[in-house]
């Protein structure tokens, strides 16, 4: 497919490989090597978007990462990409895209009506109008966001996969233009490990956009040939990794940089396989920044019409993509570089009607070349306004005397205005590294300041714009980086460059073109195209008292778009500086934060999604639980059976059945998730004395003891039963969720505070499976599979441990109970868990042995008033608050003891653990309910809160509801009535009782 907008020859596109694509529902053609933007321009599509606030027609302005207007929704469904820059989208067969921010399309846009009211939408418009009154903002917001939004987030799951790569290198080169390539070659030749990344599909940077006119020669050959040879040499070096389509988007501490590599987005959907994007996390000894520069637009009236673009972009479209942008063009500039663009257009057969130069008498070599081509140069003049409805048709040129416009305006018809306000070095990564760019008055741009980390800028990002100097700086920076990394870099002379940039005449700063009618009354002079911020908005912000560029940014939305102000920010800062009567250096820049360009959420998440988001831990008996239809709950990372419903049973019915089995017969639970820490060493008892509140030295081998641990503030942090296995060996159990924390915490004390103690902690949680056999028939069941342990009450008393064989497996059996029943916990190696479990179930079949889950476990322990740390405690509860003074030794020091002596922890009106019985035994008070004095029923709010319900269940054993609560001076209030006022209006009355509801003497567990 050809069109009148494509040059017959030239460029880096492959005219033998036509590609079809769809834009806003219409089919077009392009060629391999095109971007979506170049293919659209070559198809004559110049109106590609509507602006954010006023919905003005907009066209392509740039040719790369800086593009503010040509933002598209790429593809749809699972492959949808919102806010892709058409200038960076490589064209592929079947590509489908549509404009964002317009409906039904950019040519006829409903919201363009808003333009008519544009005078009513000054800076701060959204804050002033829509945020007030607040009540209505909720109503507006939906419509405003819809009208002003950019792309849409995909509604379906992303079909792609993403990876993360970790890499270490000696020299990271960011950018593979002439300076970056020179640096990579110099560093690579030394043998240093080099990574060179560039955001474009092809390496070469500005070399890819060179025209035929002032074609430079590098090292004695055509620039293109030098580039091919350089890339060949780099590819041949095993120590060099080349990453095209890869953006260095973050520069963090200690030379840690992040790169987003796009591997798929240039391929037709059907050909995409494997990983779409990779985030490279790179540690580099040294960094060479060769990120180039971005041309600045000029700020003049109606400077946003389609057909107005950066001069460098015009060169790129003509030279690299063979686009015939217009039949007639005007160039508007304040510097020499746009003269090269004029020649590029001229050589492509585009008539250049004139170069409008703000400088009074432009001269020099390149200017002479333009004169030789019979192009008119209008010096000392500016473009003050433009015409055209959906596309540029003419520009209005006026002479400028200082800041004053003089003489008669002149209209020049043209379909393209190529503008250049100078160049802004891409100092983003340098600034992200912690350094501060400084304003260079002579070059009228921000340049890198003093390096804070191991980096150096080379080429255009360093404010160096002629090709030979760029390559010289690159080679020097690459060699230096290699040398600083310990490699011997051979001193190679940078290649000589002929006829690149002849000695340039200095640029004349031109931040804002004077407006014939004044900034506020004249046509809008756009500074930020994407966010529709104009010079008058910045002037208004200054008039309203904004002084800091950071505040002006937030007030006007300058630089808030997806382009992050790459095009407009510097102009905006300079305009603000002028309004404030400051130097630009005093105004400064806004903060350059990562990411340099947007990074997809998919890439950031990588593989850490779905079931890989967090590890799932299952016990050795998990398969059995699944077979039995267990309903699971998450406890930390563990999956634990919550209950085992039989056919048609509700949770309530199942839990009731499980509880009654434990109280009246025999039940069995998988308790493997409890944390288990093997503690050994001659000082183990001393250490346990320090971490537990009670005393451990006198505990005999083969005996178990319950302990609570406090943090140093005196608050309960974990609890569990610890068994003395031998003289210098203990097995500690912790809560399921606290295992890792307790181990780490004990290690910290040992290593940092008591390094003299000889104690060795080992986590053995996963090594052993634990079956809790609970109920009056438990001894009977266990004895059927365990013949070498005397299970009689006299020989194997409560709180003791025996070793023996259970169903043939070596087992530690502990007679401990979290239910108040006669119970045994059988610990066997995890690999033998299923065998032992099956044997226990078979042995208990006659007694109706009933598997139970965590819900029944909670009910059983609450009936006994046993706490669960983290449910009945919250980090502000002392042992005394729980009624556990008996567990607190007075004869030794332990962690947290001193804090218990503070006046606040010694108060007797602290919140204390109590039992609650609701007046109506069928009512279960919701956990978390706040409790107030019963007399508050008639008082008006607010009333003092006395505490809250921590655990609440229906108790099958008691045939009524029970609850545990933390209540101010609760034990003293025993017998009093409290009130739980609920959100739904109910007020539940409940009496304070002992937290032990069942068998306070402990006869059942001691049976």
């Amino acid at each position: 497919m050809t069109s009148g907008h494509r040059l017959a020859e030239g460029g880096r596109i492959d005219r033998l490989k036509p590609l079809a694509f769809t834009f806003n529902g219409r089919r077009y053609g392009g060629f391999a090597g095109d971007t979506l933007a170049s293919a659209l321009l070559a198809s004559g599509v110049t109106l590609v978007a509507r602006s954010w606030k006023y919905h003005r027609p907009r066209g392509v302005v740039g040719a790369g990462v800086e593009e503010p207007n040509a933002i598209v929704q790429l593809e749809s469904g699972a492959f949808s990409v919102p806010n892709a820059r058409a200038t960076e989208v490589s064209l592929y067969e079947g590509l489908t895209a549509r404009s964002v921010n317009c409906w039904p399309g950019p040519e006829i846009d409903f919201m363009a009506l808003v333009q008519l009211f544009s005078g009513l939408m000054p800076a701060g418009f959204y804050y002033k109008t829509f945020m007030w009154p607040r009540r209505l903002w909720k109503k507006y917001e939906h419509y405003i966001r819809k009208a002003s939004g950019l792309g849409e987030a995909p509604a379906v799951a992303d079909a792609s996969t993403y990876d993360k790569m970790n890499a270490y290198c000696d020299v990271l080169v960011a950018g593979a233009g002439p300076a970056g390539l020179a640096a990579a070659l110099a560093a690579g030749r030394s043998g240093a490990r080099v990574i060179v990344a560039d955001e474009q599909a092809e390496f070469g940077g500005s070399l890819l956009s060179l025209g035929s006119a002032p074609l430079p020669r590098i090292g004695g050959r055509a620039a293109g040939h030098w580039l091919d040879a350089a890339l060949r040499e780099l590819r041949a070096m095993p120590n060099v990794r080349m990453l095209p389509r890869s953006t260095v988007f973050g520069y963090h501490d200690a030379n840690y940089l992040t790169i987003a590599e796009r591997r798929h987005d240039h391929l037709p959907l059907g050909e995409r396989a494997g990983c779409r994007e990779r985030i490279w996390r790179v540690r580099a000894r040294r960094v060479v920044l060769a990120t180039g520069a971005i041309e600045r637009p000029l700020v003049f009236g109606n400077n946003d019409r389609p057909g107005i673009m950066l001069a460098s972009a015009a060169s790129t479209y003509v030279n690299r993509y063979g686009v015939r942008l217009a039949s007639r063009a005007v160039v508007f500039t304040n510097n020499d570089s746009a003269y090269g663009s004029a020649l590029d257009l001229y050589h492509a057969g585009i008539e250049v009607a004139a170069i409008v130069d703000s400088r009074r008498s432009p001269g020099g070599e390149v200017v002479q070349k333009v004169r030789d081509a019979s192009i008119e140069i209008i010096g000392g003049s500016v473009v003050v306004d433009t015409r055209g409805r959906r596309h540029l048709s003419a520009v209005r040129v006026v002479q400028m005397d200082g800041e004053r416009l003089t003489g008669r305006p002149r209209h020049i018809e043209c379909g393209l205005l190529a503008m250049s306000g100078g160049w802004s070095p891409v100092v983003h990564l340098h600034a992200q590294s912690g350094a501060r760019p400084r304003f260079d008055v002579a070059r009228a741009c921000f340049v890198p300041g003093e390096a804070i980390q191991g980096e150096r800028s080379a080429g255009a990002c360093n404010g160096t714009f002629d090709l030979e100097s760029c390559m010289g700086e690159g080679a020097a920076a690459g060699a230096q980086a290699a040398a600083l990394s310990g490699f011997v870099a051979r001193a190679t002379k940078p290649p000589a460059v002929e006829a690149s940039a002849p000695k340039a005449q200095p640029l004349q700063p031109l931040w804002l073109v004077p407006s014939p009618r004044g900034v506020s009354r004249g046509p809008r002079q756009f500074v930020d195209f994407q966010n529709d911020v104009s010079a008058s908005d910045i002037a208004l912000a200054a008039r309203e008292g904004y002084r800091s560029i950071e505040h002006v940014k937030r007030y006007t939305a300058l630089g808030f778009g997806t382009d992050q102000g790459k095009l407009g920010n510097i102009n905006g800062m300079a305009i603000l500086a002028r309004e404030l009567g400051q130097e630009i250096s005093a105004t400064g820049t806004t903060t350059f934060r990562p990411n340099y360009t947007p990074v997809t959420f998919g890439a950031i998440a990588g593989r850490d999604v779905g079931e890989l988001f967090e590890p799932v831990r299952t016990t050795a008996l998990h398969a059995w639980h699944e077979e039995r239809g267990a309903v699971f709950e998450n406890v930390g990372q563990w999956k634990r059976p919550r209950y085992f419903p039989r056919d048609g049973e509700s949770m309530h019915e199942a839990v009731r059945r499980e509880c009654l089995a434990a109280r009246n017969g025999v039940a069995i639970m998988d308790a493997s998730t409890l944390g288990k820490i093997d503690i050994q060493g001659p000082d183990a008892a001393t250490f346990l004395d320090l971490v537990y509140t009670n005393a451990w030295r006198k505990l005999a081998a083969g005996r178990c003891r319950y302990g609570i641990m406090l943090d140093e503030n005196g608050m309960v942090m974990d609890d569990g039963v610890t068994t003395r296995l031998a003289e210098n060996r203990y097995l500690m159990t912790t809560t399921t969720g606290g295992a890792a924390r307790v181990l780490a915490w004990m290690e910290r004390w040992l290593q940092t505070e008591w390094p003299n103690l000889k104690v060795y902690n080992t986590s053995v949680t996963d090594h052993y499976a634990t079956a809790a056999i609970v109920g009056p028939r438990s001894r009977e069941v266990l004895s059927a599979v365990c013949s070498d342990i005397d299970l009689s009450a006299a020989a194997f008393p409560f709180m003791s441990c025996r070793q023996g064989a259970v169903a043939g497996a070596a087992a530690r059996v502990m007679r401990i109970s979290f239910s108040g029943e006669l119970a045994y916990e059988v610990n066997v190696p995890a690999n033998e868990a299923r065998h032992v479990w099956d044997a226990l179930l078979a042995a208990g079949a006659a007694n109706g042995i009933t598997p139970y889950g965590t819900e029944a476990m909670h009910v059983l322990r609450a009936e006994k008033g046993y706490i669960i740390v983290g449910q009945d405690t919250d980090g502000s509860v002392t042992p005394a608050d729980l009624g556990m003074e008996w567990l607190v030794s007075k004869d030794k020091d332990f962690i947290g003891r001193r804090s218990l002596l503070r006046p606040d922890t010694a108060r007797d009106d602290r919140k204390q653990l109590v039992g609650l019985l609701s007046e109506d035994p069928s009512v279960v008070i919701p956990e978390g309910s706040q409790l107030v004095d019963d007399a508050s029923a008639s008082a008006s709010a607010p009333v003092p809160m006395l505490g809250h319900v921590t655990s609440s269940y229906e108790s099958p054993a008691l045939g009524r509801s029970i609850a545990l609560a933390l209540v101010k001076a609760g034990r003293r209030r025993t017998g009093e009535m409290l009130l739980a006022p609920l959100r739904d209006g109910r007020r539940i009355r409940a009496r304070i009782v002992s937290p032990v509801f069942l068998d306070p003497e402990g006869t059942r567990q001691n049976a």
């Binding site: 912690g434 804070i452 001193r898 804090s899």
Partner: protein
């Protein structure tokens, strides 16, 4: 992201480590000998300097050992890494 040289394992990424706050906060040898204010000082008060800071780190996803780091809180530059019980390589600036 910092690069931290574990005294036992060598330089590793910060993601392998856990931060432990200010170092050299000694637990009073006899807690009963200090008054409440002194005890509170031990529990809660930290220097939080701008500049040189000595702090505890744990190689949590490595050797699980605790050690000390001297770090500039402004530049994040690490000036010394040393084991418990040792002093920093050079006196703090």
């Amino acid at each position: 992201m910092l690069m931290i040289a574990c005294p036992w394992c060598g330089p590793r990424e910060q993601t392998e480590f856990a931060y432990g706050g200010e170092a050299h906060i000694a637990r009073p040898a006899d807690p009963d000998a200090v008054d409440d204010a002194q005890w509170a000082d031990y529990l809660f008060m930290r220097t939080n300097p701008k500049g040189c800071h000595r702090e505890q780190w744990n190689h949590a996803f490595g050797c699980r050992r605790w050690f000390n780091v001297e770090r500039d809180t402004l530049s994040y530059r690490i000036t010394s890494v040393y084991k418990p019980g040792e002093r920093p390589a050079e006196p703090a600036a």
